[in-house]
Symmetry: C2
Subunit: 493 residues, 2 copies
């Protein structure tokens, strides 16, 4: 069983297969009986809960409040904003009836044709329309602004090709929807929230990200501007990890939401929306994990430290437990989540393999000889390094190690990204380099036409126009036309 746990596809053999197996073996999620939908298992959900809690604290610290809006959206609402419906119509789950009945012909339960809705309802793919229809009643004067609201919810987009966490028909997310009196204030909000996401990704997930603006082609349906954070996975592909949209007055116009300004004149309200989803789980898994299983940054690990006793008989276990109990207490006092696994139906070797696959950052093992010698074996999951250290002072050592693992994971991911980021000058060079994976910084003439040609010929897209980095102008690698600055290309999830 221990072997079975550890035995799975290596990243170098088939990265995609490795990912799918890891998600299942680490007990994070599994495919469900409903096409495109997954079951998030307790261990996977515990990681998501830690993410949620941290993000929620950050949203509240920046002045936002949570609320809840309906799951179902009248079809006509979706149609009000032209780009928006164009973007989502093809992947809408549609509710058409509100009742089942017994089939008069005895074929079990069937949809009752008499219970047909006058207007179909769509399961929200995102909530701009229902929310702006609601804001219409909340906003009358400049005194009602800003509205800074977030919603934690499930959404549904009928995707044809799905992968657990990365792209599922139903997913869990948060969507912030804010309303402002001025363009400047809305734009500042959009930037503030993409920075909150970048901070969360880097400081908690230990995932380095590049913050930038999407090209017109990759914008959210209905947005004027979309800001994004882009992470690089170990296979060199990009993963869009969070977006923040400046919606201008598009939704205010679609839903006729105006306010009286200080001069008592009506104006349309300015809008933003921003979201991250369970897709972040995919980013977390693919950034750090290795051929032995999951690797978790300590700040998001449901179990940060596991302690495994190694014993021959009850008496030994008792002695070990007596030594370990005050340690567990002391670690908990320091805010560390610790599990003492003294279950007697699994052998130490199995436990080691299991916690390795589950990515527990620090493992302590303590046996009879350790008791005699006043030692303990400590293993760090990121490097798999083992060391035998003195039992006294182990608390400080664990604290130090957790910090070190957190920063080491970030550094490692950053070094990997840097090693796979190149600057190219010509389109030939680009085509050669893109085959090797990674990020490519290159000049582009700013047109959708060129972007689409590149995508068609190389499967690479513009991930973003970075907010930072080299801003020297140049000429487009494809057309030779002027380019304002280099932009970031990659193949992506």
């Amino acid at each position: 069983m221990a072997k079975e746990l550890k035995y799975f596809t290596k990243r170098s053999e088939d990265y995609s297969k490795w990912y799918n197996e890891l998600v299942v073996k680490a007990d994070l999620a599994e495919v469900s009986a409903v096409r495109g939908c997954m079951v998030i298992k307790p261990y996977g959900y515990a990681i998501w809960e830690k993410m949620q809690r941290q993000l929620d604290d950050m949203f509240k610290a920046t002045g936002h409040q949570n609320a809840y809006f309906p799951l179902l959206i009248p079809k006509s609402f979706l149609s009000r904003e032209a780009d928006h419906v164009e973007g989502f119509a093809k992947e809408c789950a549609v509710v058409t009836h509100y009742r089942l009945k017994n089939d008069p012909e005895g074929n079990g339960v069937v949809v009752d044709p008499e219970a047909k809705l006058e207007e179909e309802l769509i399961i929200r793919p995102t909530s701009e329309t229902i929310i702006w229809n609601t804001y219409k009643n909340w906003i009358h004067s400049y005194r009602d602004l800003p509205i800074l609201v977030n919603q934690w919810a499930n959404v549904f987009r009928w995707e044809m090709r799905t992968r657990m966490f990365l792209r599922t028909a139903e997913f869990l997310w948060q969507e912030g929807h804010t309303a402002h009196a001025t363009r400047e204030e809305a734009e500042a909000e959009v930037k503030k929230m993409i920075n909150v996401y970048a901070t969360f990704a880097q400081d908690f997930m230990a995932v380095p990200v590049i913050t930038g603006v999407k090209s017109a082609n990759e914008r959210f349906a209905g947005a004027i501007d979309t800001y994004t954070i882009e992470a690089m996975m170990q296979d060199g592909k990009a993963l869009q990890s969070g977006t923040s949209h400046f919606l201008g007055q598009n939704f205010a116009k679609a839903f006729d939401v105006t306010f009286m300004n200080k001069e008592n004149k009506p104006e349309y309200v300015w809008a933003t929306s921003w979201g991250v989803s369970t897709r972040l789980m995919g980013a977390l898994i693919m950034t750090h994990s290795d051929d032995n299983g999951l690797v978790l940054p300590p700040k998001l690990a449901p179990i940060q430290v596991v302690i495994v006793p190694i014993y021959k008989d009850e008496a030994q276990l008792k002695s070990i437990s007596e030594r370990v109990e005050p340690l567990v207490e002391e670690l908990r006092k320091r805010g560390i989540s610790v599990k003492y696994d003294d279950a007697d139906n699994r052998r130490p070797g199995f436990k080691f393999a299991d916690y390795e696959v589950k990515g527990v950052p620090v493992r302590l093992a303590i046996g009879a000889r350790d008791l005699e010698n006043g030692t303990v074996e400590i293993m760090r999951r990121d490097t798999l390094e083992k060391e035998t250290v003195g039992f006294d002072g182990i608390v400080d050592e664990v604290v130090r190690l957790l910090d070190d693992i957190q920063s080491n994971l970030f550094k490692k991911a950053l070094a990997h990204r840097e090693s796979m980021t190149r600057t190219v000058e010509t389109y030939d060079e680009f085509k050669k380099e893109i085959e090797k994976g990674g990020f490519i910084l290159a000049h582009w003439d700013g047109t959708t036409e060129t972007e689409e040609k590149i995508k068609e010929e190389t499967k690479a897209t513009i991930r973003c126009i970075p907010l930072e980095g080299d801003t020297t102008p140049g000429v487009c690698m494809v057309t030779g036309k002027p380019s304002a600055r280099r932009v970031l290309f990659a193949r992506s999830y």
Copy 2:
């Protein structure tokens, strides 16, 4: 505006109208554009979040973990358990298509008839079926049991008559779904969880409840036994506030979920499920609130203390703020959520009315004369009593007052329930008493027939067979047949 806030229907005039107005005026929720669905506004959602956090802690303390299962359920799953589908078929929202398209005749966006699902999907009205279909893969041996899982989710039941929080088509809830090797263990779980709900209702919501078992007629569709907590609203009607179901092996049989027991023989798994929902918001509102607005128990109030400065000019405000700031800090250190409302666009009278309507438990007001005298005015929301007390020692006084309000609300609600609970001997007496509202304890012969006759003739139902109280046998008030013990009748929400 202050007047407008305070001006609403009195409970004695029209309790139902009072409730609807209060929900809106206290900024808790509003009806949405989607039939039967509500928007939970930030202030209402903040109360729900406090409930969630507390309940979640209690679930985890009793060994449960959270997970997440799909929103949509294949129609055929629902049909597997006969009673279950019978109970829910009439209120199912049905997804039949997965795509919209532009109408070729130019009528905007329409459902694409080519994107019809082979099998319809139901928005979960509850998740037993999809979860037991999943558990089938999780459970092989007795070593895989118990499974103690909870899910926080939205569910959908197409109700014809809806009221905010009390009965809405979509609502938020948690649903625990556990799997056990033995009947005894499952039954113990069912009781444990109804007791968790009772503790939460009484100790946090300050809502006294009667715990008992439902009659066959009122059981959850698919359960062997349903335990319930029943609360009494101020109008004397009962509100079912939480239920815990012993499902026996019904769902294990429907989904063929067996395990190998210690003797290596296959057995069907035993199941429980239990849930509370945003309906608890309705119980909270209707138990404590008064003609001036919401009254909240301190343990669930998003703002426990509000401090309002009363000043004539900037200089006065500055002096007051200097006095108040260390107080705010001290209160926060004691774990109290406090708001210092120094906004200058609303007058003190308006603020007073607003926080009264919103049910903030303790209000402090401080003006220039208080500064001179070293005093502060303190108001408690439950009794509306005002007192001027010394500024020194105010922190202890606030802590004491919050405790006192919490226990006073419970005592008041309990006294109200006791004053409206009677024991009757004859059916004539019953019919007279039920018109006055409240709970009635009476003998019943245990048959569905008698129960339905009583319901038809009096609109009263058996709320539960209480677990505690008088267990003396007697004769049924309607049929004169033997009765094992008195049961609890009431009209209900």
